[in-house]
Amino acid sequence: MSERDEFDMLRSRPAPKPRNDARKEALAAALRSYDEKFSPTAQGTAGEVRLTDRARKLWRGLMNRKLVATPAVAGLLVLPLAGYAAWQFMDEDMFGLRTETQVQGEPVRPSEAAEEQEAGRGVVLNSEPALPQAPADQLRETARPAPAAPTGMAAPRLQRGPLGAESKMVAPSLAPAPSMDMALPRTESRDRFATFDTNPVRAALEDPVSTFSIDVDTASYAFARRSLKEGFLPQADTVRVEEFINYFPYDWQGPASADEPFKANVTVMPSPWNTGTKLLHIGIKGYDVPATTRPAANLVFLIDTSGSMNAPDKLPLLKSAFRMLVNGMAGSDTISIVTYAGSAGTVLEPTKASDKQKIFDALDRLEAGGSTAGAAGIEEAYRLAEKSFVAGGVNRVMLATDGDFNVGQTSDDALERMVEEKRGKGVFLSVFGFGRGNYNDRMMQVLAQNGNGTAAYIDTLAEAEKTLVQEATATLFPIAKDVKIQVEFNPQRIAEYRLIGYETRALNREDFNNDRVDAGEIGSGHTVTAIYEITPKGSPAQQIDDLRYGNAQVNNPDGIAGADEYAFVKIRYKQPDADTSKLITTPVTAANEIGAFDDASNDVRFSVAVAGFGQKLRKTDQLAGFGYDRIMEIATAARDADPYGYRAEFLSLVRLASALDGGR
């Protein structure tokens, strides 16, 4: 042992000597249990020499926990149960530190469960399954050199508790074995998510302009999906509704030529979740650059190979994902690989994608080990990206990690500044998150937003395929950057509005025309969708009272042009290599309006269902009376072709969430 540091003082404190009495008692207890084990007849004497009260209490506690007891719960709980059981099986950290991101509540203790039963109060239905902690303990004890009787895991044991409730307690059929696509959970979650408040309802009269940056990230959906498949409702703060909506490809009408990089399709329709309000739906489709005219790409994979990446859903998944990406690249594109673990290292100098074998070999050699030196790694990655810089092409660092950049002097701010500065030089950054337990979503978001890139969360190979193969062109080839949307509502027609999602992308009104303010980018063929819930003037659904002296504040007085318009949508963007922005405007008039929600196109209705789902998970007040069953109905009817099964998967997530949320 040679570690010499400030923790050395830990060594300096010797444990005190045990007391002789305690020692004797322990030895006697050891022999007793030994005797019990080897000659069961000796059990009769067990009561003679007593353990200390406390030890006995502890021991009984231990026995109680082996008891698997649960109220007779409806079948609804089977899923959370499965997740919970798997969770217990996989992790011994069970009662380690609880952080604010941890989803699971304190399980109901057996005695409480028993009382519940005694009182005949019947079924307890909530999202916290009433389960004691049996599996982890039993598993461990059977896995280890195994004391005690090798009782079957599912065998019910009777409680010796004071309540005499044993006969009413049943062992649940333990753990439907975790299926292959059920991701394996961790207990002690240190995932970090920035918190934010849901957009409030605003009065169009006081606050007629809504401004936000475009967001093509999808990480939040993938993360929530994982959580649901593990049997937990995702925490509200991990749900960014716009990322849910934008996860799905929609068939919005695109622009005809590259001159106009994208086109906004606006639909106004009645809201499915509130009578009296409408939805203003803006679907933007980026120009799809034909494969033949794609610019050359210079990609640097910056791969986290720290020890924590040593999990099936991390490094191995990452390797497969990048292999798929490389397969789709043109031969003249350049690829480099930098790793960071302990010290940063270049694994592959810039190599032409035509030399696939060399790239694959480099990927295969990657192994997890050491700590994370993110800052050094990112510097090295940028150095390589600049070394093989393609003027007029795509120069991008693709960061894959499970956590944060934690070794090195660099503060988060300094790192952000560096990413920003490199963006100015034409090197963009995309972030791919893997794994769970130490996932630093906030950092990922910040880096990707500052680096003009996407942040995606990859939890399965299917997700890797979606992000890196099907949407590779969108991910890699930007057609516009700093895309901002500003919607001005006409207070003559609209009383209130509420932007669904995009909370983390809000911009100041004046930022819209300020070209120095950064915003999101749109890739080739990307679709971006934004939905407002609007309350027409005079609607009974209006939440904010009219101002008594309101007319004095109207900054859009009667008689102006376009007085019968609902709103005016303005989109500002820059060409990928330009510094000044261009403007696209679209008025929203009655011509955009559809009389009935069901008349809207499948894609519009599906995106609204997704928006509803996201808001439901965020427990948004406006959807309190709108059940998962309605979301299912809308999404099922609007499922359409769904060649990759994304929408089918969405339906299954809604079902899961509905079950986990008590069917509300």
């Binding site: 042992m1 570690e3 540091d5 923790f7 050395d8 003082m9 830990l10 060594r11 300096s12 404190r13 444990a15 005190p16 000597k17 045990p18 007391r19 305690a22 020692r23 008692e25 322990a26 030895l27 207890a29 050891a30 022999l31 007793r32 249990s33 030994y34 005797d35 019990e36 084990k37 080897f38 353990l51 406390r54 030890a55 502890l58 021991w59 506690g61 231990l62 011994e92 950290d93 069970m94 009662f95 380690g96 530190l97 304190e106 902690q133 461990r140 280890r144 050199p145 195994a146 004391p147 005690a148 720290s306 020890g307 924590s308 040593n310 997890a368 080990g369 050491g370 700590s371 934690n406």
Partner: protein, 190 residues
Amino acid sequence: MTAMAAEIDRQDAQADDGELAARAAAGDRAAFAALVERHYDFIYHVAWRVLGRRADAEDLAQDVCVRLGRAIAGYRGGAAFTTWLYALVLNAGRDALRRNARGDRNVSAFAAHAQLMSEENDDDDPAERMWEAVRTLPDKQREAMTLVYGEGLGHAAVADIMGVTENTVAWHVHEARKRLKALLRPAGDE
């Protein structure tokens, strides 16, 4: 004690752990007694590291002894006895901490209070404060720290005990140190 029994005792004192354990596993009560006698101090030592208070450590040590009595039959001699024993103690320690964490909050609050009041706890000792911090770490990190710093074991030995690779041990220690630094940083010093 007969001369023969004394002779057996003497032999037991000389026999190595593995041999004693094997005999105990086969039903040799004297061998088992000798084994426990020999390792009680060690068990108590680790228990104290884990829990930090004499009364708790004594209870835990006794709990381990009881488990040992039932578990020894399963000892197959695959690993060194001490490695096996370490794992047993760590498991028991984890359970004990878990019970504490889960148990009545009032009791633990009172216990914390009592601990502050007790003379046995040397509050001014920075090493003890650091151990307190170690006890709040997640299981794996705490165990790695206990074995590396408390027991002075090498990473390879710790890896054996914890059933993970050396790299993982190094990572747990690294994470633990990072966390400890944050925990021990004076409030307000960001």
